[in-house]
Symmetry: C2
Subunit: 433 residues, 2 copies
Amino acid sequence: MANERGNVNVAVLGMGTVGQGVASLLLRQKDFWRERLGYELTLRRILEKYPDKTLDFDREGVPISADWRDVVDDPEVQIVVETMGGIEPAKTFILEALRRGKHVVTANKDLLALHGRELFAAASERGADLYFEASVAGAVPVLCALRQNLIAEPLTDVIGIVNGTTNYILTRMAAEGGEFGEILADAQKLGYAEFNPASDVEGIDAGRKAAILSMLSFNSQVTLDDVYVEGITGITREDIAFADQMGFAVKLLAVCREREGKIEARVHPALLPKGHPLAGVGDTFNAVLIKGESLGEVMLYGRGAGRFPTASAILGDVSEIARNIRFGCCGRLNQVFDRLKPVMPIDEIKTRFFLRLLLADRPGVLAQITKTLGKHEVSLDTVRQTDLKDGDAELVFITHIAREGDMRQALKEMGELEVTKEIITVLRVEGVA
Amino acid sequence: MANERGNVNVAVLGMGTVGQGVASLLLRQKDFWRERLGYELTLRRILEKYPDKTLDFDREGVPISADWRDVVDDPEVQIVVETMGGIEPAKTFILEALRRGKHVVTANKDLLALHGRELFAAASERGADLYFEASVAGAVPVLCALRQNLIAEPLTDVIGIVNGTTNYILTRMAAEGGEFGEILADAQKLGYAEFNPASDVEGIDAGRKAAILSMLSFNSQVTLDDVYVEGITGITREDIAFADQMGFAVKLLAVCREREGKIEARVHPALLPKGHPLAGVGDTFNAVLIKGESLGEVMLYGRGAGRFPTASAILGDVSEIARNIRFGCCGRLNQVFDRLKPVMPIDEIKTRFFLRLLLADRPGVLAQITKTLGKHEVSLDTVRQTDLKDGDAELVFITHIAREGDMRQALKEMGELEVTKEIITVLRVEGVA
């Protein structure tokens, strides 16, 4: 319940970039909330492993502690904001807070993508609120939409650009014709990529978000382990240039679909036609395209990361929970995700493919390739010869829709053909009917 | 309260296109809701002036009546969906339903933009829910975001393409180089424009949406009468062609801003740089760009009209209210909008301008124009000579940011100059720093 002055008391766990953003806004925006919401959101406690750490805001005497029990055992704390990241101790802190009847806001996609179901079940058991808007696409209110306004109809497709680092790299590769490695190094210098960029560039971060999006969109348990993940480290400037010439942008996509009760959840680079709403999403921006039978298509776009955009999403959650506390309806969005719709193995998904092959330049080669593909029910939509190198010809193909398992078989056989010098690139193509 | 079977009973008022969409989905999606929400949304009654009207779905014996009291006096009806449109009798029906403790979902922007405050106050008094997602941008969950996730920070700008008909016309004018009148006629044939298109093409429909967006975004009473409205009937293919050459798209924008406690609420055609997120929104699509200090910018995009997209937004509201009924927290989003922040008169707004002038082609003319503008503190950013006609020169200008009142004075004086043959076009330019 809100305390006697009608305030709602909040604790923030972890004084990293985002945690400091949340704490400083909690202190700075008091007047706005009093006017807008009719009550205050009060920063009551801070947890930080190094309590002597220099903060870049004045905490105005709010107690800071390295002992999490100081926070979860304070009966005045109603909402706990977890911005520490990682699995432990975040998981224990969240579960203990829920057990003590506190509500939790977290941006922790790592945790939700692995242990989401356990956390949601704990919240549900206690009738507590567990909100996590900032875990996917930062300030973009996509989870709010999926948990509230868009629950009224079956969704068929949720496709997103949900990792800002890789989108920044791909946008610059396209604009400058640069190679992956050099742009990544520059992105690291500029602070757009981490010192250890693996979880971004290898698609793991986007994979976590795909798990969360799939869970909410299709009301079924989906974890990171269920998501097929492929990163962008193999994308070259030539791939992007050829795609561009054929009218496509290359994006790292999180593709979540439900068809006849089966879920697709995959993250990989893909070609998108330039007219596609996601194709124009550049720089570090995130966007999620949602399709439903009645809805048509809806896209939500904005800043997916950064201190204040993330803090903004977290404070949206805090305000919503504060409203629920005042109306005595916490737990109203709880879902248990105890259904288990099957997640399709990657071999069973159907899509178009973009292939770059280096072939011997002699008569009948194309017929051999077509025949090999045809044997596995893959047919060609577009063929373009691009280059001749030492008597070999580079060809770029786009196929019609094919089953991935069939495509893999065909590629294996093509690789064994004497005329095939190299299978340079294989990418999926999305957004074409 | 939900009835003993846990169902929530819904009545639909008006069997127009949207009303039939809502009613048919209510009947068709029962199984989905039972599984997803844990209860049914049941179509209990239909109100239709002509109860013998042929419906394009099977109403499965649901009672249809021409007498509104059959609906509002039925104690089993918990949620009333109003899809009749217009001011009366919709207003009376909604108020009577609220008075009887029912919750209301409406898509009626005409009504909300004029009598919103009265309706919101009536809902608030009763602790009833009044939801209206479909009134702005159809299936795009923009009001859900503004009423929930984005309440935690002061918003500064909400700028939208919120009328599909005009966006369709402008998109085709740009693509085909056609004139307004001929494309409008074609849009009418294709069903994208009404037989009487005035409220769309003159900006009134967008003006209503600007009033609703301003009210929610800035928490203050704003009605259609407060919104400056200018339509697209004067836009020519030359305007669009010159704008295009200079790197701009022409869009009908709803611009809602708050600066230092004052509100801007205006609808007019405007030039937008082609890289602007709203510039690429084509066809009948709608989009709303929302800016806040922490948030950065967020854009929501999708189908703004049409039977099923609108029905989808309405059913999202119905599901949300059903959830509130079950958790006993109806009224949780109620706002009273009793604040009255001043809305700036159009003369006080500041923006850039795009001007097309026909001037005598002789030395010193440009100096005279510059001098007249300068007298009123308007300065030029770009000047381009485009054409010579019978000894006159057509020039296209883009100004720096100027106060609209000053610009109007300058235009008046320029019109009186002997060298000015014609002031062909004056349009505002948005989205340039």
